[in-house]
Assembly symmetry: C2
Homo-oligomer: 247 residues x 2
C-alpha cells in the first residue's frame, strides 16, 4: 500500500503578498494534477458557507484548466468519491471537516481511492491535517466534537500546518507552537510531527516525499530535539515508519 | 442551584512583568479563599509533570497561608473531592485535563461540591475552560481525545482564556482568535463566549459575576457583534441563561 500514492499537502491556502486563494502554490498544483486529470472533486466541509467556498475554489481551478465538482452539491457523496479522478480538501476548521467526513462515511472510501487506486489527493491546511494519522496537531479551535481524532492516515506521521516560530517580542504567555507539539510528544506512541510553515508543502509520490515551496520545515520526533529542513529536503524516511494509528 | 456557588476563573497563570506563578492575581486569590479555608485541593492533570506542578502550586499557596493537597498524590481522588474544602484546577493542556477528569470520574463530584455544597472553585487557564459549559473554545492543541468536550458546567457560558487581539502587523494567515470564536458561533445552539484577556478574571458569587483584574474582556454572543467590557463590569446576566449543555 502506498506505492501509487500521490499527495500534495499544502500548509496554507493563502500566503501574504502572493496573490489570492492558492496563488502561492498554483504552479505546484498544476504540475501535481497534470494534463491527465480533467475534473477535481472538492470537499468544502471545513467552512460553514460551502456554496461560497466552492465558488472560490471553482474559479481558481478553472483558471488552471480543471473542472471542479463540489461534494456538497452531490446527492451521493460516497459515490462521488468512488467516481473521482482527483480529490482536493480545502482548509477551514479541522474539527468541523473531520466530523463531516465521519458523518458522511467518507474516510475509508477516500483512503481506498488514494492508497489503492492512485487518485491524486491535494490538501490545504485542514485538508492537510486530515490526510495524516490524526488531527492531534491541528491549530484549530475544537468547535465541534468528531467521533475520533483519527484521520485518513495517508501518511504515517502528523503535520502541523501554518507552523509558527515564537515571536520573541511578544509578551503573551500562551504556549508557543513548539511547546504545544512538545506536549503532544509527552503522550505515549505519538508519531513524528512535520511543522510546515506558511509557504511550504509536501509532495508525496509513492514512497518518496519532498519538501516544496519557499520556506523551511521543522521536524519533531518524539524524545529528540527538533530539526530544520530546507526546501527540496527528501523526507521519504518519514514514510517508512509504521502507522500504528491508521483507521 | 448556583445560589451558594463561588468561583474565581482566571485567564492565565502567569502575567508578563507581574511576578511568577499566580503573582498577578494573588490578592484576588487570597480574598477569594479568605481566612476560613485552610487547605486547597489542587488538580494538576493539565501538565505532564504533576510532581513539579504540585511543588510550584504548593509553594505559592503556602506563601499565601494555605496548605495544598495535590489530587495526584491521593489514592482515592473521588474521596479527596468529597472531603475538599476548596478546589483549584491549574492550567496546561485542556484536552489532557478534561480527559483525566473523565478517566477519574470526577466531573459530577466536583460539580456537586461546588454547586450544592458551596465549595470555592478556582480555575486558571485550562482550569477555567473546564469550569464552563464545554472546552469548545480552548486555545490548546488536541493532543489527546477526551470522551466528550462537555465540561463541568459551573456557569452556563464558555470562556476563551488568554484572549488575544489581532496583531495588525502580522502577516501570518492563520485565523485570528475572533475569527475562531465566530466559527464556533456558526454552529447551532452555542452559548455565549467571554474572551478573558491575560490579566483578567471573573469572580462569581452565587448569581453575581464581576470582571476583575487589569484588562478588559470581549463578549461574544451568537449572531451579535462582539462588545468590550471594562474591569468591574457586572456580568451577572450571563448567569441567567439556561444551560442546555450541562452534563
Amino acid at each position: 500500500m502506498g506505492g501509487s500514492r500521490r499527495l500534495l499537502l499544502v500548509s496554507n491556502s493563502r500566503l501574504y503578498g502572493c496573490g489570492g486563494y492558492l496563488g502561492h502554490c498554483q504552479q505546484q498544483v498544476a504540475a501535481f494534477f497534470g494534463e491527465k486529470v480533467k475534473r477535481i472533486l472538492f470537499i468544502p466541509y471545513a467552512l460553514h458557507d460551502q456554496d461560497a467556498y466552492a465558488k472560490t475554489a471553482r474559479e481558481k481551478f478553472e483558471s488552471l484548466g480543471y473542472g471542479l465538482d463540489s461534494i456538497h452539491e452531490s446527492s451521493d457523496p460516497i459515490e462521488s468519491v468512488r467516481k473521482s479522478e482527483a480529490i482536493f480538501i480545502g482548509g477551514g476548521n479541522t474539527f468541523r471537516l473531520l466530523k463531516a467526513l465521519y458523518d458522511n462515511s467518507l474516510l475509508l472510501e477516500i483512503r481506498k481511492r488514494v492508497l489503492e487506486d492512485g487518485v491524486p489527493y491535494m490538501g490545504s491546511s485542514a485538508g492537510t491535517n486530515v490526510a495524516t494519522v490524526s488531527i492531534n496537531t491541528t491549530n484549530d479551535m475544537p468547535i465541534v466534537y468528531p467521533p475520533s481524532f483519527q484521520a485518513l492516515g495517508l501518511v504515517p506521521f502528523n503535520i502541523n500546518p501554518h507552523f509558527l516560530d515564537p515571536d520573541k517580542k511578544n509578551t503573551h504567555m500562551g504556549e508557543t507552537r513548539e511547546e504545544r507539539i512538545r506536549q503532544y510528544h509527552e503522550e505515549p506512541n505519538t508519531p513524528p510531527v512535520l511543522g510546515l510553515r506558511e509557504g511550504s508543502m509536501l509532495l508525496v509520490e509513492g514512497d518518496k516525499a519532498t519538501l516544496q515551496g519557499v520556506t523551511r520545515a521543522r521536524l519533531f520526533l518524539r524524545g529528540k530535539p527538533p530539526t530544520e529542513h530546507e526546501p527540496g529536503t527528501d523526507f521519504s524516511f518519514l514514510l517508512m515508519a509504521g502507522n500504528p494509528q491508521a483507521p
